[in-house]
Assembly symmetry: C2
Homo-oligomer: 228 residues x 2
């Protein structure tokens, strides 16, 4: 087996560097969902001991990108459509609240940032730059949580973003189906957020989500690797 993992940047502290390297490898598909991360192998590739590597894996587990099974190993999570639908169903409840809390900042100094993010999304879509569009897409929604000044809301989004990113990276039907539609939706979301119309925001958001939780099959969160 040739070296799968290489240092992507220099000048990083060991555990954090390993963390970022593995995270990038997971998100760009180098390690597929369900794939196993073998400690000895990776440590040898990176030329480090298993201790900092295990710390990096722990961080990835906290973030929800990998699942560790005792005496079995660390596996990349497989985010199910069910789980994404569940996340969206909760976002539908809290994100309008986040938008409401950040309305003041959004109408003031942060207004350019919101518009810029929509613009970034637009450009990325025109050029079919999937990674960039995913990035702008998530940055857009994160904005409301960050600007809400609400610690609990911020931590909620932090727990969701990586899972959403992983899911979007694997399943980009959302983009290929109707690229323009997504941009329009976010323009509308930005507009109603600037108006401070919370109810309208909720309605636009509901339209933005692909489908409701009820439409999902009852496959109860397939979060375990396929070998179990």
């Amino acid at each position: 087996m040739d070296h799968k993992f290489e240092w992507q940047e220099q000048r990083m502290t060991t555990p954090d560097g390993v963390y970022r390297t593995l995270r990038a490898a997971i998100l760009d598909g180098t390690v597929p969902p369900g794939g196993q991360l073998r400690e000895a192998h990776i440590a040898a590739d990176l030329g480090i001991s298993r201790s900092p590597l295990r710390e990096a894996l722990t961080k990835l587990e906290e973030e929800g990108l990998v699942v560790k099974i005792p005496y079995r190993g660390a596996f990349v999570v497989e985010v199910s459509a069910r789980e994404v639908a569940e996340i969206d169903s909760v976002r539908l409840l809290v994100e309008p609240y986040a938008a409401e809390l950040s309305a003041e900042a959004l109408r003031g100094p942060e207004r350019p940032q919101l518009l810029q993010t929509v613009e970034d999304l637009h450009r990325a879509m025109e050029q079919d730059d999937i990674p960039a569009s995913i990035d702008a897409h998530l940055r857009f929604h994160r904005l409301f949580y960050d600007l809400s000044g609400h610690g609990v809301l911020q931590s909620l989004w932090n727990g969701w973003e990586t899972k959403l990113r992983l899911h979007l990276s694997v399943d980009h039907r959302t983009y290929s189906e109707d690229p323009h539609q997504l941009v329009v939706e976010h323009e509308r979301l930005a507009a109603v957020a600037l108006e401070g119309d919370t109810d309208a925001f909720r309605q636009e958001l509901a339209a933005h989500f692909p489908m409701g939780l009820r439409a999902q099959t009852g496959d109860r969160g397939e979060r375990t690797p396929r070998h179990v």
Copy 2:
């Protein structure tokens, strides 16, 4: 259903055991809020090495029960009123949804459990049994999340319960002020939940929370130990 032999506890590795031990020690007040957790001392007490202990502390930090300060140590958090208010503000949005999702189970086989929990709370209050009342109180609200069949909602509550329990254990003005009022509120919550009236549930819940987020002073999450 005819699995006669089942491992109730999943494979327990040392860090998990340490994690539960420390968690229990924190929640029952053995280690007071603001108290320090010394690695060497605990490791010697439990007869283990620092490696699994550090992993356990990391898990506690992730859960929000412990704060680690570089080169100073790990301290038990002091949950601020601000953070509880933030949690409640989000619960006000999602808990009615959880109640709605669990309405079916609640009207069916789980109905006795709901009524029993209210009864437990009632008895604990009459006897001024604070720990038992906190337990029944939290069990009541957990019920909606558990029965919702919604994994994300369940994990949300799991992330909140320990912090709420820690806060209630320290500051039980909520109970001493008007013991009977709290029981009545939960009887009403149970009633509207059984009726499936989501809006009424939200209103009762709002009345149940001591005060809104806006009434809080702007002390932005006092999560650091007192020595800082």
